[in-house]
Symmetry: C2
Subunit: 175 residues, 2 copies
């Protein structure tokens, strides 16, 4: 075990709980249950952790990498714009941008014509970093042993799951 995630411990035996019958499934749910949300958080941490050695060479954390991806697609963007694209709160993005500015990858200045919004912009150094970043996806696919198709499949599955977490229109109509 080098870096990365501590190993998961197999534990598929349940001590008691063998007499019941009705609530058999419900009994096990507190185990089965642990699974989805638990496996999901572990998978997320594990995959992000696998990026670390690769992103270290770029001088980026994983959240910072996502912001840079965002800016490589469109350079002058507002905080709100970035936060929408990354599905995160502006309050999360704010200090992140401050650190990226300190690192010299972006500049932050008030937008002319609208002093409320911030003009987040790549520096030449930030734009140049994209060259090194182009190899990251390939490295990671190899690192995870996934084909492009598998990545696409997993991505689609995740998007479905994300969609499932959004409350339906009849759940929260108003009130």
């Amino acid at each position: 075990m080098t870096e990365g995630t501590p190993a998961i411990q197999d534990r598929h035996v349940m001590p008691g709980a063998h007499g019941a019958q009705d609530s058999q499934a419900a009994q096990d749910d507190l185990l089965l249950e642990q699974q989805l949300c638990f496996a999901l958080t572990v998978a997320s941490r594990s995959v992000v952790g696998a990026y670390k050695p690769v992103l270290d060479r770029l001088g980026l954390t994983h959240p910072q990498y996502l912001v840079m991806l965002c800016l490589w697609e469109a350079s002058p963007r507002s905080v709100r714009d970035i936060s929408d694209a990354l599905a995160q709160e502006p309050a999360t993005i704010s200090p992140l941008l401050r650190r990226l500015e300190t690192a010299g990858f972006i500049t932050r200045q008030r937008m002319e014509g609208n002093e409320r919004t911030l003009d987040v912009r790549l520096t030449p150094r930030g734009a140049a970093l994209r060259e090194q970043a182009t190899e990251v996806p390939g490295i990671m696919m190899a690192r995870l042993g996934l084909t492009r198709e598998q990545v696409g499949q997993l991505h689609a599955t995740m998007m479905d799951l994300i969609a499932a977490t959004r409350p339906g229109p009849d759940d929260v109509p108003r009130r």
Copy 2:
């Protein structure tokens, strides 16, 4: 938009990048790339966020909920044992347990016979909380609109992904 995750912004159009041919896929990788790790982190945050209103009623955060699941399976456990089961560092578990103790769900005392290890144990109140927790899985499956089979499928997919992040035996033999 009530609680939960900020909406993800569709952005499947790429401005330029249409003349190239060799590096066409590699060009898009910085978008495609964003997808898996990004979708995974968003999915993780979204699902955990969906638990929040449910777990609020139990007075638990999601990580605390996972620890309690852990303890409902076996009550006197050490910090290391819990940290292995949850695939997290002891340093992460430690303050978490302190808060659970403050909340009155567990006790922490040095194990007799081995003063190094901590004896983490459910209080009656912590054990009783299990009753309320039994309904959580059902609520969440309904909330996400997933069948038990789908949950199992997703779980298996996540476990595969977790396994993929573990370095192969030839990657890190020793040294």
